[in-house]
Symmetry: C2
């Protein structure tokens, strides 16, 4: 810092690191596939390296451990989920946005597998992704509780329902339907069944 006229730390990676950044990205992509198929426990550094088309030691040079690889990969996806929560408008639009997002996963079986297997593994406190997932579920429930509460205020919710319970139910339905879809892609239509669920809850907007 002091007197270092060439310092550019605040502007992110300099020239030589550009290639590294690209490689890191490719490694993280390889991670998704391998972790999706075998979970954290069943995946090996060698398998990930092979998938990324590099050697095992080279992989280890960029990510010091398997746990670091998992958390880095999850962090790179976390951003996208945050966007969905923030960006959406209010009320029903917010819910339909979630359904649309889940519907897009039809083309990304790897992402569905990844979520299903890691979320289940990480339910154990010792798992490297435990805190990340606990926080994620808490935030998502909080967000959706707010959305349903808003709908309640607008008189759009069927009587006898509670926003906080609906939030848990909606998340459960997303997770559970995606799991069944993995087993029977032609039988279970995630987006369709989610829409059906919302239809049983919401009173038609009459404006």
């Amino acid at each position: 810092m002091l007197g270092d006229v060439t310092s550019e730390n605040s502007r992110g990676p300099r020239g030589p690191y550009a290639k590294s950044a690209q490689l890191r990205k490719e490694i993280l992509d390889a991670c998704v596939t391998v972790f999706a198929d075998n979970g954290f426990h069943g995946s090996t550094m060698s398998a990930i390296a092979q998938r990324a088309g590099i050697g095992q030691t080279r992989l280890l040079h960029h990510f010091a451990s398997k746990a670091e690889l998992l958390t880095a990969m999850l962090a790179s996806h976390e951003q996208r989920m945050a966007e969905i929560i923030e960006s959406t408008g209010s009320g029903e639009d917010a819910l339909r946005a979630h359904v649309r997002e889940v519907g897009r996963n039809r083309e990304r079986r790897d992402l569905v597998q990844l979520h299903s297997i890691i979320s289940a593994e990480a339910a154990v406190a010792a798992h490297p992704a435990h805190e990340v997932y606990r926080t994620r579920y808490d935030q998502l429930r909080l967000h959706l509780t707010g959305v349903f509460a808003e709908l309640r205020g607008a008189g759009r919710l069927k009587v006898g329902t509670r926003p906080d319970i609906l939030a848990s139910q909606f998340i459960a339905m997303m997770d559970g339907l995606q799991l069944q879809w993995l087993y029977s892609p032609t039988t279970v239509d995630v987006a369709d069944h989610l829409d059906a669920f919302l239809s049983t809850l919401l009173i038609d907007d009459a404006d």
Copy 2:
């Protein structure tokens, strides 16, 4: 068979096997705990043996491989699920029976973890439990579709709902709520939220 006057094969294990049967049971119990915490991939024969209080080679003498251990353990539980499907009366009683069963799992966190992690791992075709779980989900959907269809016939179902979709939704809700309960046992009440779901679907019986 031919001329073997001492043959008692058709009456199950003879004397000397009684101890083996007991040990097998203890091993399978140890399995539940270990597989529940680490899944199939993350569990080791040594860990299971240690949990069962025996040596690794002794474990291997009774179950030839880890995959055999998993399938034997699942088979010993399959029976219980079949009973729930068969035994229950009709209509709403059948659904409430499922809710009660899931409610009992509050005292069996290990079983919930086991189901969550194995069902997610086994979504990959190469997993030793893949076929078992695919079949289980198919049968459960079939069973519940019948139950909901019956309720539809009795005029107990809200309009705009479809028995087959409700079956998928109900299973998804069970799986998904149990997963959230693992992360937040004090926030998510599985049986309560399931009951709430059924309440939004069913028209009160007026007889």
